[in-house]
Amino acid sequence: MGARQRIVIAKPGLDGHDRGAKVVARALRDGGHEVIYTGLRRTPDQIVRTVMDEDARFVGLSSLSGAHSHLFPKICNLLRESGLNDVIVFGGGIIPESDRAVLFDAGVRAIFGPGTPSAEILEFVDFASTKDCGVGSKDDWHWGD
């Protein structure tokens, strides 16, 4: 098991389903990490502010409403504008394969769809925490590359 990380799990946008986010939060907790859950329907501003206040190293974005192509890049940009370049962004939910390349280009380092074993998300956190892959990094690596 890698070092303990502080991880924000966030629900951006008008999406009222958080079973998946809670399952991921719980898996990360059981993996020895400190998870801050934002609750439903957060704006990109609120999420970035939470990441900043909580000094989180990771932020996981969950979206099932189809607005990921708008919200995820916006959050990545806001993180960079706020100087939070070392924060590692990952996402999950209902994200079609065809939408993923754009999200990776925006700075998202992993997308986990339905059926992902929670052990894989823990593996990603352990591995990414040793890499220079914050949202401000020039490296274009992403999980499953």
Partner: protein, 256 residues
């Protein structure tokens, strides 16, 4: 607006799980900011099994959605980590740091606390204990413990039946002592009593009879920190659990 020097500026809000501590903090922030800059240190438990934690106190703070107030508020979720009590020692440092950096007041929202979890007294200079209806008969109000350290008692969930009886029981029990703490009846849902609570919080008198007990908690916390920060601590823990190292020998090694 400033918090008077005679009042406390590090205030612990404690009480059993689910009694409404986070919602009361939200109600207080709605009323105290932006006139005051207030920091919230929200403590949640660390898993004794995995070492992880789920920190969910932010969810209740709807005040953060208000742009005119959120810039006067700082919220930090804190996990208890390796501390044996419910108050990690890092909270002391965080609170001092925030007060030195333009914050007028620090609210510490403790983990859901039982009758004898008094470690918050080591850090806070005022303690608010939150109670509620349907938590037992009048003998509960007579029991020793956390209630005795309270500088203010809040009976929350006043919208539910039984709140007045709890206030009555507490009043009868506490007025036997000379410096009985004030009791405020609130409902975080209807907003009842929150204005009064906000006013009292900015000018809370210290209950002098609990001063010695507070010093005791300070000493205990400092002593525990010395133990936990001992570089041998984790190794000795491993040897106790895996190699059957005896407690007396462990203590001897730690004190060498």
């Amino acid at each position: 607006m400033k918090v008077p020097d005679s009042s406390g500026n590090i205030i612990a809000i404690t009480g059993p799980p689910g009694i409404g501590k986070s919602c009361l903090v939200d109600g207080l922030l709605q009323r105290l900011t932006p006139a005051l800059k207030v920091a919230v240190l929200a403590v949640d438990p660390t898993s004794p099994l995995s070492g992880g934690a789920l920190l969910g106190d932010r969810i209740r703070l709807s005040v953060l959605d208000d742009k005119t107030k959120s810039d006067s508020i700082y919220v930090r979720s804190v996990a208890t980590r390796s501390s044996s009590g419910s108050m990690p020692s890092i909270v002391q440092g965080l609170a001092s740091h925030l007060l030195a950096n333009a914050f007028d007041m620090v609210l510490i929202e403790t983990v859901g606390a039982g009758q004898s979890e008094m470690r918050c007294a080591a850090v806070a200079n005022r303690i608010i204990v939150v109670e509620g209806p349907a938590r037992g008969d009048s003998v509960q109000a007579e029991k020793a413990g956390l209630l005795e350290l309270a500088d203010l008692i809040v009976v929350n969930k006043a919208d539910l039946e039984g709140a007045d009886r709890v206030i009555n029981d507490l009043t009868i029990s506490l007025t036997i002592n000379e410096d009985a703490p004030p009791i405020v009846k609130t409902s975080a849902i209807t907003g009842e009593g929150l204005d009064e609570l906000a006013e009292k919080v900015t000018n809370l008198e210290e209950r002098t009879s609990s001063r010695r007990a507070r010093c005791r908690q300070k000493l205990l916390m400092a002593h525990e920190n010395i133990l936990i920060e001992n570089p041998l601590f984790e190794g000795i823990l491993d040897r106790m659990s895996q190699e059957g190292l005896e407690l007396v020998d462990a203590l001897r090694e730690l004190s060498e």
